[in-house]
């Protein structure tokens, strides 16, 4: 029988605010343990939360970008459960009147557009961190720095039909969040986290199967791998008439498989009730409109615009707009350099690979768009050839120096002087008598060999166009 997976994703993103959601502690990552806490985020007796204005603003912004409806009257609720990383033993979250609901993201799969529904989007506070390594094997250690970092929870509809689609959804979602500049979306640092649930059913069947929940994936690729693994596991179980139990599974990255959580989870009873320490929030239509009007251009819009304005292929536009900063880099370049085709080739080729080799983001590139364009112009003028230009770019990344300085310092300028090139050609012909006679006997490709030898002699700096012309001329006369 043919089975299809039904996948839903639950994404938590930490919002990029100066301070925490309910107190003024800094929301920075990586500080020493328990150095970013105060009575409020430690949940000390008597303290009270006050909502950070920016958190609601970021929430509304994201909701609108994800095509969600904004709840006119929102409130916060307490989610009650005991855990040592949760100082109050309740988490301030949103239950029945979340910030927003019913949105969607359009994703690109196999060249066609699929619409994935967003069930809801709500605000909550992050918990602290538990560490299990210390002097004492019978102890765990608690760091409350992360407690109270603002979180946005984005829950998708179970509309996702394959692990690859889940991957595309996450990539698209991340791009939108980055465009909005509301989160770092760094899975390694935990500023974006994703849990998945998956069930399978015979193709065409409406009824949902028993789902399992997958946790502990540290990258989008890991989400895809975990889902692929689970899809196969569930399919095999079905084929062998084994029961699939509803459970939470952890992804083991090293073993590339899912494992059952060791502790049996108790049935949850979170006892949600309205948070009495926070007042309700009423979001006015005019405030929503004002945020809507100030939304930045989003990936899909940028994609369409770039596609139309710069003679790009869909593939090129897609890559360029997958990262807001890459697209911005391109557009800064395109303002001062009109050979879009060449710019695109360079950016998607040499430039991206330099970035990837160094694992740096476009916005942190040591080579500014202006500097890259300068390099392209120098190349266009024939001062250096393409091959040299790539080496110069690498050097620009390494040293941070400009193309001009590198070309001068390393004496890389192209030789276009006909006298000098003639001399090189003469020597090359003299040193390669047999290829020369081969050419004369009609072997056309022998010319390429001779040309290569001449280039080598010129240490790669010869102007290829001129040397080609000169060589042909000399061979005719020889």
């Amino acid at each position: 029988m043919n089975y299809e997976p039904v996948i839903g994703l639950e994404v938590h993103v930490q919002l990029k605010t100066e301070s925490k959601i309910f107190c003024g502690c800094p929301a920075k990552f990586g500080a020493g343990p328990n150095t970013q806490t105060c009575p409020v985020c430690l949940g000390l007796p008597g303290t009270l939360p006050v909502l950070n204005k920016k958190v609601l603003e970021y929430g509304v912004k994201t909701a609108l970008a994800l095509n969600c409806s904004i709840q006119p009257f929102i409130k916060f609720d307490r989610k009650n459960y005991f855990y040592p990383d949760l100082p109050k033993n309740y988490q301030i979250s949103q239950y029945d009147l979340p910030l927003s609901y019913k949105g969607y993201i359009d994703i690109n799969t196999d060249g066609s557009i699929r619409r994935i529904g967003i069930t809801r989007l709500h605000l909550e506070e992050d918990a602290g961190k538990l560490l299990h390594e210390g002097s004492d094997a019978a102890s765990s250690y608690v760091d409350f720095n992360r407690t109270g970092i603002p979180l946005l929870e984005i829950v998708s509809e179970p509309d996702i039909n394959s692990p690859q689609e889940a991957y595309e959804y996450l990539t698209s979602l991340k791009a939108i969040l980055k465009y909005l500049d509301i989160s770092d979306c760094d899975m390694e640092k935990g500023s974006l986290r994703c849990d998945a649930n998956i069930s399978i059913r015979p193709k065409g069947e409406k009824k949902l199967g028993t789902k399992t929940e997958l946790k502990n994936m540290n990258s989008f690729k890991a989400v895809r791998s975990a889902l692929e693994f689970e899809l196969i596991r569930q399919t095999k179980a079905k084929e062998n008439n084994l029961k699939i139990t509803q459970e939470t599974l952890l992804w083991d990255e090293k073993m590339q498989k899912t494992i059952t959580m060791r502790t049996k989870e108790e049935a949850h009873d979170y006892r949600y009730f309205p948070e009495p320490d926070l007042v309700p929030f009423v979001i006015e239509e005019k405030d929503i409109l004002s945020i809507k009007n100030n939304l930045p251009e989003l990936p899909r819009q940028k994609y369409s615009r770039l596609l139309a304005s710069y003679e790009l292929s869909e593939y090129e536009a897609n890559i360029l707009t997958s990262d807001k900063n890459l697209a911005e880099y391109f557009e800064i370049g395109a303002q001062i350099y009109k050979n879009y085709k060449n710019l695109t080739n360079w950016m998607l080729g040499a430039f991206l690979s330099e970035l990837n080799n160094r694992k740096i983001a476009p916005e942190n590139s040591p080579v500014a768009a202006r500097d890259l364009i300068n390099l392209l112009k120098i190349t266009d003028e024939g001062k250096i050839n393409n091959l040299t230009a790539k080496a110069v770019l690498t050097e620009m990344f390494n040293s941070g120096k400009s193309a001009d300085v590198i070309i001068k310092d390393k004496n890389l300028a192209q030789i276009s002087d006909k006298g000098m090139l003639s001399k090189i050609i003469d020597e090359t012909i003299k040193e390669n008598p047999s290829p020369v006679s081969d050419y004369k006997n009609g072997k056309e490709n022998a010319l390429m060999f001779i040309m290569g030898q001449a280039m080598k002699k010129a240490k790669g700096k010869a102007n290829p166009k001129i040397i080609n012309e000169l060589l042909k001329e000399r061979m005719k006369n020889a």
Partner: protein, 471 residues
Amino acid sequence: MNEFQLTAGEIKKEDTGRERLTSSLLERINAVEDKIKAYVIKPAPAASAKKNSGLLGAIPVSIKDNICVKDEATTCASKILGGFKPPYDAEVISRLKESGAILWGKTNMDEFAFGSSTENSFYGATSNPHNLNYVPGGSSGGSAAAVAADETIISIGSDTGGSIRQPASFCGVVGLKPTYGRVSRYGLIAFASSLDQIGPITKNVEDSALTLNVISGYDPKDSTSADIAKPDFIKALGKDIKGLKAGLPKEYFTSGIDPQVKKSLDEAISVLKAKGVEFIPISLPHTEYAVAVYYIIATAEASSNLARFDGVQYGYRQINKEGIIGMYRATRGNGFGQEAKRRVILGTYVLSSGYYDAYYLRALKVRTLIKKDFDDAFKEIDCVITPTSPTAAFRKGEKIENPLSMYLSDIYTISANLAGIPAISIPCGFTKEGLPVGLQILARPFDEETLFKTAFSYEQATNWRKVKPKL
């Protein structure tokens, strides 16, 4: 007259007695505290005036032990907070310090403010200064007893369902629960966040108004604090109450009321009538549900508010072999007293899956009806007058084995918290046994001025506050 018997108003007016004040009070505490046990932490002899100029300059003010004072033990009269010292001041403490007040020890209470008798304290019960065999009321029993026994000039309490007014009534002093949102709750260790309010317990109405001037006002650290204009409450004192319309809710004068209390109330009504107050019979039809609504909402919120006492960050911790969950269970099982356990479990139950709609949600809806009863009544009248409690103080041990009967003793005070409105209790007589009786006045939200002018007018026409306990 001894200095310790002075009121803050008298001290300010005469500008006398300040030098001798603290030593006089300490002598008084030495003489009577062993009988009363009003304090969890007695005032330090070194506690002295920072400045005389502020609104409460050099005036000793004792603090209920559920209000955080930076770097000083704050216990909520519970074993579970043993050793806890908050690293911050409650907003009311900052305001008191700013006003020049001397922080005068921490007063006893029912553990986490759970109770109406101050018998539920890990540190032992407090006695009623008027008769040591009787309870002082609760939960701010230590504060009321300390004021009644002249062990302090003013005390700060908290009121969730009557915890300021009922002990004030039992001890023959003045207790005010301000409008919800009038005084910042920041630093008050929460019992039920949607009901809790901090307020003063004082020897007379003037000191009550004076103290509210100091502790009230908008606080950006408390989202539920009201950002509204704050009048000078002292100016309400002495205002004419002729023509004031007072409602007498028929539901408060039923068979449950002690005849002696009823008699004192009738006399008080006559006094106010003579002052020109017009009394109008009214109905607050959902009154009979108030106690049930209260015990659902208050315990539900408490179950969540008290979840943080788990032995991880502060206070008492007990470890056993069962890991982290074992630590939680043992710490909370041994750290909480019986009433705290009862309320936390009840509150957990009414919120739990399958019961939320039947209890908690239903209670929130009936709360709406109770609030509406008052909204409707206040269209016709300016204030409501009732007894503070159906009886005078009861004997120690009388209700401790029967929690429900204890809960029902809050029947007249609970509605003000549910409706968020201000209410004051002032002395209006004594029973044959020499126990004080209290009169309660309730007004519209943020209309404490009506309470003060009415209470002050009555107080000036009577002499109840001059009857001191014989200690």
